[in-house]
Amino acid sequence: MARELTDHTAHELAVLLTDGTVSAREVTDAHLERIATFDGVDTSSGVWHRDDNTGSNDTAIHAFLHVLADAARDTADEIDAKRARGETLPAFAGVPVAIKDVLTWPGSPTTCGSRMLANWNPPYQATVVTRLIDAGLIPLGTTNMDEFAMGSSTENSAFGPTRNPFDVACVPGGSSGGSAAAVAARFAPFSVGTDTGGSIRQPAAFTGIVGTKPTYGTVSRYGLVAFASSLDQAGPFARTVADTAALHDIMRGHDPRDSTSITQAAPAFPAATTDLSGVTIGVISELVTDGFSPDVLARFNDTCQALSSRGATLIDVSLPHAPYGLAAYYLIAPSEASSNLARFDGVRYGLRVDADTAEEMNAHTRSEGFGTEVKRRIMIGTHALSSGYYDAYYLQASKVRTLIARDFSNAFTHVDALLSPTTPSTAFRFGEKTADPIAMYLSDVATVPASLAGIPAMSLPIGIGDDGMPVGVQIMAPLLRDDVLYRVAYAIEQTPLIPTGPRAVAEVNA
């Protein structure tokens, strides 16, 4: 069977575009066509929306909230025209990309998966979006997410969930479930997500693709609608390690508009290699326990063996405070969120529910605009910061955070990278965890420690679990050493022992 344009990686597309085999318009049309076929969108206008006629039998993926079809075609035509004029274009010019609906992008509503911002057209552009556009990428549209990035399944989106391309009865993970599903379903070769406690890594694992949470401070947060400012970081998804690295490289860089943006240059990303001689990798004992399902642990052990066979030295490493990570995270992140989301009050933008007084208007707007999970977290955070509780909750959690970061830096004096399964289990079914917030939160148990420490971490596929769903491994590296992630990841990706990559979504949807 001939490979479709949508089967190609970004690197392959870049070659075809550069040598003139295909035009950016053809590449864009191919991806739009696939979205129109499989994503369940209403294509009757130039901006496609999620098709409202969905029911329980719906098997569409619903990765996108808005597909800016006309705008994408126009951008593609512009790039083709520039190329025809002989202009020098960036390496990936003409390659489509999908963007999580949490980055401001004038021209498209930025909804954050919330009713609160259902009709909000941001008056300014996120730095990351500018970087994508400057790199000649073609933004296809904005992808679905858990409301304000709070969730692990996209079930908290105000606009309905996204389905997992591997099995539409399963969640794609979250909160960046739409961006992950878009790449897994080959609606785009790569996409942008954001990760606060695992929101890139967990959906990458659930949908069988690669996703990286960069070192905190290396990708600008300007224009990223904040969930938890000290943890939020935008990062790339792709189906291959090399594509992930390429998008990551486009996104990163200092931004004077973000005070937490780091000025130091990070090492360049390595070329693909399979040789890990001299590399020491630590396996985090606390994150390889019986809380993880046996098939996940089995694939993980296969991966460790594969790494050894590539010349890496594997040792067990203890992060004694890692088991407290989730508890600390579920105090710190909601605390910051309670303050970050205070601005949604019906005064300056977004939803307003009318009332007699400003105070009632605020309260009713917030009650109707926010979903249940967002309200829960706002209340947890408000409580954790309130008088009499601050020391026991927010402050204590921030101290535990220091100890977790210290555990990591101690570990990195012995090892170059750390390893754990990305999630305790494979993708779960819709509704399986919605009634029990803590059960849902536990899917982040392995990803949260790296978030708290700010270190770079990545998930990549390492095969299929007993249920036929993808399993992911998490690689972690020291601050600013995102390059190490890719070095280790290339070796895993190119190990034939491990079946990688998602099954084609077309068969799933046939």
Binding site: V347, R352, T372, I438
Partner: protein
Amino acid sequence: MSLPEEDVRHVARLARLFVTDDEVALFAPQLNAILGYAEQVAEVAADDVEPMVHPFAPADVARDDIPSPSLSRDAILAGAPAVEQMRFAVPRIVAEEG
């Protein structure tokens, strides 16, 4: 530490959320469960540990005091739910100021 329904209402007020009785009944046990889980942090001996505000951030990031273009008033007001006299309009304010 548990959070009785009365405290749920107090927290909702602080967070300026309107909550119905049903929501209070739903949230109270959930918030208690989450806080109960989160209270594990108390098990860690951390008295002498500095709290961490930023995972990795430089100090003294500042910009020069040089004006940059503002957004047009139309652009800023375009997103507003209610505008009057080129200002953001809100119903009468009754609560106290900070």
